[in-house]
């Protein structure tokens, strides 16, 4: 369901998207809004489930994961359980950080991390190619991240 928000909510969420670590007082100041109003609006957005929380962002490079690959998979759909089974198997892979399903040429995408190319090759052979119901698989190797804010154009 779509929640109706006004310009003040939008301003709040924009500021908070730009810097989630802001305190309510700092946020109120940036939005030129009384603190109590700011707090009440945040409560309302949280209560409605629009503002779900905050997640820490991990820099995997710092932990020694230098390879990131986007695996684009077409699923063999003759078996009605194929999707559920490949999704369940993908969830068991410790090196997978994102799983998306699509309508389009690609059915499924896995974002995979590896320490280096040797490690990637090992994961790919032992754990990816052995996933059930794969019809086609294609890899896009990440060279650089130019934008990754994932923020909404409010």
């Amino acid at each position: 369901m779509i929640m109706q928000i006004d310009d003040q909510d939008r301003r709040l969420l924009r500021q908070l998207q730009a810097d989630p670590s802001l305190s309510t007082a700092e946020l109120a100041e940036r939005c030129a809004m009384p603190r109590a109003t700011c707090w009440r609006r945040l409560e309302r957005l949280q209560g409605a489930g629009v503002l779900r929380g905050q997640r820490a962002v991990i820099d995997w490079e710092r932990l020694g994961y230098h390879v990131a690959v986007s695996l684009r998979i077409t699923v063999e759909k003759s078996n009605p359980r194929a999707f559920d089974e490949i999704l369940a198997a993908a969830r068991d892979l410790p090196d997978v950080v994102e799983i998306q399903t699509f309508l389009g040429r690609v059915d499924l995408r896995l974002q995979l991390l590896a320490r280096d190319m040797g490690h990637y090759q090992q994961i790919y052979r032992e754990r990816i190619l052995t996933l059930p119901h794969i019809a086609e698989i294609e890899a896009l190797m990440q060279v650089a991240v130019l934008k990754s804010e994932d923020s909404l154009p409010l």
Binding site: V50, L51, R52, I58, L154
Partner: protein, 154 residues
Amino acid sequence: MIEIDDIDRAILRALVADATLNAGALGRQLGLSQSAAWRRVQRLKSEGVIAGRRLDLDAEALGFGVTVFLGIKLATRGRTSLEDFERAITAIPEVQAVHHVLGRYDYRLRVVARDLPDFERVLRRRIMTLPAVGEVESNVMLSEELRPGPLDGI
């Protein structure tokens, strides 16, 4: 690269789920003293493992009902066209993420829109009009799961 142990991994998992947890709450959750939890979080931050925070918003409830992943192949080569393309594409507010990749496509994009007609407008007026853009593939996202990745006790 820095070495982390199982307690650090547990801290990262907890902060990825909820970045607003303070040292006291983290400590209680993991059986650590508040000061021990604080020291570990500070180290993970100062070493750049925790790169920041991200707001978790319900895009659909805010009226952004469509997320599309795009693969883009450039039609032209040369450094100037590359830089122009990167500058223009990252400036589009609906484009949430831009990754430079190797493989069938040159760039991987995540685009958010209100609905399919809105996506079509962004695609035709903002993206396809960029001179460097060649082949484009769109896959409409149906579902998404974010996984903890290689943080499970190894």
